[in-house]
């Protein structure tokens, strides 16, 4: 096509040889050599000119033909502006949606983590006796750290929300506690100041903190001198020793990193306090690291004095990116599959439209073929048109995708990992480009092959296409529509199953009321000694009293965590024991934890009696907390129904005493005084967990959520409560929400999936219906002559209808059957996302099928009716 150097040299030789021969001829005719040469040159007309002309011819030829294809294609598309617009819109929609979904998939799953050599960073987990991954206990981490041979650096970390003051104003911030090697694992180092040293992480060391870039700018006004930078966290003074580069906020958008173990390390091998990450040594593979860590874990298991379900059984190593994105993987891939189906349905529509257009252009194609255009040339014409369509559609689609991605991010559940790396970036644009090209190539090739199949010149002679050809192209068209119907059915079933799951989840009784409750998150500094704790209890009591005075507030309560809120409750093992068995220290308690009839497992929650009333958690037996349960009386607890049922199946748990001091450090026994109803702590689709509720006023917890049931509007309650809290202590940061906000946030992941797949399903349905309509109208058009003949011969309207509809019905049936088979095979992949419905739920299958068949029949009916109105005289003359 283009002028290669070899062709150029070839031409050069050819022209020269031509010149030589000419010259010799003249010399033989008698001319002297020099004159002969000159004459030959003149006759040739200049070597370079000749070469140039050939070159232009070649290049011009190619360029010329491409440009003329383009011009011709544009002309063609402009001839049918309506159809062209529909095709462009359809392609834009499909390509845009695919690009938007892909940008989420890429940002969350594919894009590498923003750290150096991020694929060498591993997450380390313990594995429980049930085979599930869990966090690490301090002594276990120490052994992993000291005995491993696979990691260059390994660190532990934990994060929670704490109240921090000393910055611009007291506020809640995400604070991470890390071991000294933490930043080294990520290859991130402070841009100002210094990193943690080994000394910083020891018990009793001066408290030090490292801050994030954003926090430094906001609270320290980007000062370069850190010697005066101090923060007060939980009552202790921390000096800021370093500032991290912009963009690093691992884990969980942390702003502050503190050295861990300042209060000493825990000794228990069953308190899983930390997560762990490590960077693999050069040359070590993930499998090797796994074997290494697993061996250490099993050694610990066999030698440990503590035993039982909470002790690790094994350990595993997983690339950090996989660990973070594990849960999001299936839903996102399902979404990608769904949008892929939508793309297929859209392309099928466009193909059918192009084929219909091509059949109208048969004459023109035949003429071009007769004039010398090879089949390749015609195919190129179709490809050009397809590329034109696809590039415009793709371009519009990408523009739409910007808007689409913004919408997706707004709709997405908050716990979608790596949501900050989702954007329309170069890889996503490349994807869009490749997709558009693939679509264009597919559409163009398919149309071209179908349109130029067979002997084109015959159609010239017969004036409009033989019957055999039109039958075959009709069958192809019907086949495409059938495929559309099948794919739409699969999408519809998927959307239906997920939708029904959502409805079933909403049906679950959460065990508490949700509306009219204003929540207030309060965090106090951590207190260990009994006097400080007593002060906290008094503080809470005061707070509750004053909040009750707010006009409109009917009930006030507090609990260490609300159901379905982020964070949740800690769970642990408790012991049933009597007064004379109380251990004197936490370590002694650890030694007693063995699987016997005396242990039980439950979530631990500190609450007030107002909490149960505010949330309408029913009291089933006994009593909740009363005024007489104060700091000096025996500690009391209520337990949830499921705990009573599981742990004390044939006994009355009321009156039993349990030891649960491993959760909050207070070793006094708890006497069970009542049983309350179950609540779904984590989410509606996981079963209610056994819970022990202790009295907040006897065993205060530093972070609580206050719940206020009120008839007054949220704003006034919030303002009043804020005022009261600040009156009591101005340094405490606070956060307000309504419980219904918290509750619906927990449903967001499900809603996200349902809305998106439902949207794709509906769009696919519309496209498929349009496809059926189009194919039907086209078929009727093709058979106009035949219908005219039949009517002229006396066929009734009904007969014509049945004839036309029959064809359509066949296609619909085949499509539906294929779709059902496909759905049965594919829904198995989404089984883990379902709730309350099976993957083969007949109600969903039946409903979607009926709906789809109905829509398709309606789409068939309209052109069929038009067929019956055909005037035989007109029809017979129709070509």
């Amino acid at each position: 096509m283009f002028f290669t150097r070899r062709v150029d040299a070839d031409l050069e030789q050819e022209v020269h040889s031509h010149l030589e021969i000419l010259t010799e001829e003249k010399m033989r005719a008698g001319m002297p050599a020099a004159e002969a040469r000159r004459a030959a040159r003149i006759e040739l007309g200049g070597i370079e000119q000749v070469k140039e002309q050939v070159r232009e011819e070649r290049m011009g030829n190619w360029l010329h033909s491409v440009l003329s294809d383009c011009r011709y294609g544009l002309c063609q598309l402009r001839k049918n502006p309506g159809t062209t617009a529909v095709m462009i819109f359809t392609l834009a929609l499909a390509i845009g949606a695919s690009t938007a979904i892909f940008s989420v998939v890429y940002g969350v799953l594919l894009r590498p983590l923003p750290y150096a050599d991020a694929n060498r960073i591993m997450a380390v987990f313990e594995v429980t006796s049930k085979g599930r991954p869990s966090r690490l206990a301090d002594p276990n981490f120490d052994e992993f750290r000291d005995q491993n041979r696979s990691f260059g650096a390994i660190a532990k970390y934990d994060e929670n929300v704490r109240s921090v003051s000393g910055g611009a104003q007291p506020a809640r911030a995400m604070v991470a506690q890390v071991s000294p090697e933490f930043l080294g694992v990520f290859g991130v180092y402070p841009i100002l100041g210094r990193n943690f040293s080994d000394g910083d992480g020891k018990q009793g060391a001066a408290p030090t903190a490292v801050v994030s870039y954003g926090y430094w700018r906001q609270n320290f006004r980007a000062t370069v001198d850190l010697s005066q930078a101090h923060l007060k966290i939980d009552g202790a003074e921390y000096s800021v020793i370093g500032v991290l580069p912009d963009g690093f906020r691992f884990p969980a958008d942390a702003d502050l990193w503190l050295a861990a173990d300042l209060h000493g390390e825990g000794h228990s091998r069953t308190s899983h306090n930390y997560n762990a990450v490590g960077r693999l040594r050069d040359g070590v593979t993930v499998q090797q690291a796994n074997r290494d860590i697993s061996a250490i874990a099993r050694r610990i298991h066999d030698a440990a004095s503590e035993q039982g379900d909470y002790l690790l059984k094994d350990a595993m190593v997983l690339p950090l990116q996989d660990a973070i994105t594990r849960e999001a993987r299936l839903p996102l891939l399902v979404l990608l599959g769904a949008v892929g189906f939508l793309l297929l349905v859209a392309c099928a529509n466009v193909v059918n439209l192009l084929l219909a257009q091509a059949s109208v252009r048969e004459r023109e194609l035949a003429i071009r073929s007769a004039l010398g255009a090879g089949r390749g040339r015609l195919i190129r014409q179709f490809l050009t048109e397809a590329f034109l369509l696809s590039s415009v559609g793709g371009g519009l689609g990408v523009l739409g995708a910007f808007w689409g991605v913004a919408g997706l991010l707004a709709l997405a559940p908050e716990n979608l990992p790596r949501i900050e790396s989702v954007s329309i970036n170069i890889p996503v644009l490349v994807f869009a480009l490749v997709l558009s090209s693939a679509v264009a190539a597919g559409l163009g090739a398919f149309t071209a092959v179908r349109a130029t199949a067979g002997d084109l010149r015959k159609s010239l002679a017969e004036g409009g296409g033989g019957d055999a050809r039109s039958q075959r192209s009709q069958r192809v068209g019907q086949g495409i529509v059938g495929a559309q119907i099948a794919i739409t059915l699969v999408l519809g079933v998927g959307a239906g199953l997920l939708g029904r799951s959502l409805l079933k989840v909403l049906d679950v009784n959460p065990g508490f009321r949700v509306d009219k409750i204003v929540t207030m998150d309060v965090s106090l500094p951590w207190a260990e000694d009994p006097k400080a704790k007593a002060r906290q209890a008094i503080f809470y009591a005061n707070l509750m009293e004053r909040l009750k005075q707010i006009p409109g507030v009917r009930r006030v309560g507090a609990a260490s965590a609300l159901p379905m809120a982020e964070g949740g409750l800690a769970d642990g093992m408790f012991l049933v024991m009597t007064q004379n068995e109380i251990p004197t220290s936490l370590d002694d308690l650890g030694a007693l934890m063995r699987p016997q009839e005396r242990t039980g497992i439950a979530d631990f929650c500190a609450a007030t009696d107002g909490y149960f009333q505010a949330l309408r958690i029913p009291l089933l037996r006994g009593r909740i907390f009363e005024e007489s349960d104060d700091a000096n009386s025996p500690h009391v607890a209520v337990i949830s129904e499921s705990l009573a049922r599981e742990r004390w199946p044939n006994q009355n748990p009321i009156g039993q005493t349990i030891e649960f001091g491993n959760m909050d450090g207070d070793l006094r026994l708890l006497t069970i005084v009542g049983i309350v109803g179950d609540t779904h702590e984590y989410s509606l689709d996981t079963p209610a967990r056994p819970t022990v509720y202790v009295n907040l006023l006897q065993r205060p917890s530093p972070a609580v959520t206050v719940t206020m049931l009120s008839d007054a509007d949220t704003q006034s309650v919030t303002a009043a409560a804020r005022g009261i809290l600040q009156g009591l202590d101005s340094e405490i940061p606070v956060r307000f929400q309504t419980f219904s906000q918290v509750y619906s946030a927990s449903l967001r992941p499900r809603r996200f999936n349902v809305i998106l797949i439902g949207f794709f399903g509906i769009v696919a349905l519309l496209l498929a219906t349009a496809g059926v309509f189009g194919a039907m109208a086209y078929a009727v058009n093709r058979r106009t002559r035949e219908i005219g003949v039949r009517v002229a011969l006396g066929a009734s309207t009904g007969h014509v209808l049945r004839m036309v509809l029959g064809q359509g019905l066949r296609t619909i049936c085949v499509g539906v059957a294929t779709g059902i088979i496909g759905s049965l095979a594919l829904t198995r992949t989404v089984e883990s996302l379902l709730f309350g419905v099976t993957a083969n739920d007949p109600l969903t299958f039946g409903g979607v099928t009926l709906f789809l068949v109905g829509a398709a029949l309606v789409a068939c009916y309209v052109p069929a009716r038009r067929a019956t109105k055909v005037d035989p005289l007109v029809a017979l003359r129709h070509e």
Binding site: E14, S17, H18, V50, Q53
Partner: protein, 85 residues
């Protein structure tokens, strides 16, 4: 036949009506080669000079038939038009 020979032959056969200059000959030859109607090879000319020779391909033969038929139709049509007017 090689390029020069072709143009000589055309001149000869048409009795001098068509003289194909190299400026038109070479582009035309190259276009036909591209379309696959003729194939080229290097060989030795009558006076032992190297020259590029061209041969008609099978596709070229078909094209020739087609063009011939077409030309026939056109001339017949024109003749008819002239006759009856």
């Amino acid at each position: 036949m090689h390029g020069l020979g072709i143009s000589r032959r055309i001149q000869q056969i048409t009795g001098g009506t068509f003289v194909v200059k190299p400026g038109s000959l070479f582009p035309a030859l190259h276009r036909m080669e591209e379309e696959g109607w003729i194939t080229a090879f290097w060989g030795e000319s009558e006076n032992n000079r190297r020259a590029k020779y061209y041969r008609l391909s099978r596709a070229g033969l078909k094209q020739l038939e087609a063009e011939t038929k077409r030309w026939g139709r056109i001339t017949w049509a024109i003749a008819q038009a002239l006759e009856t007017s």
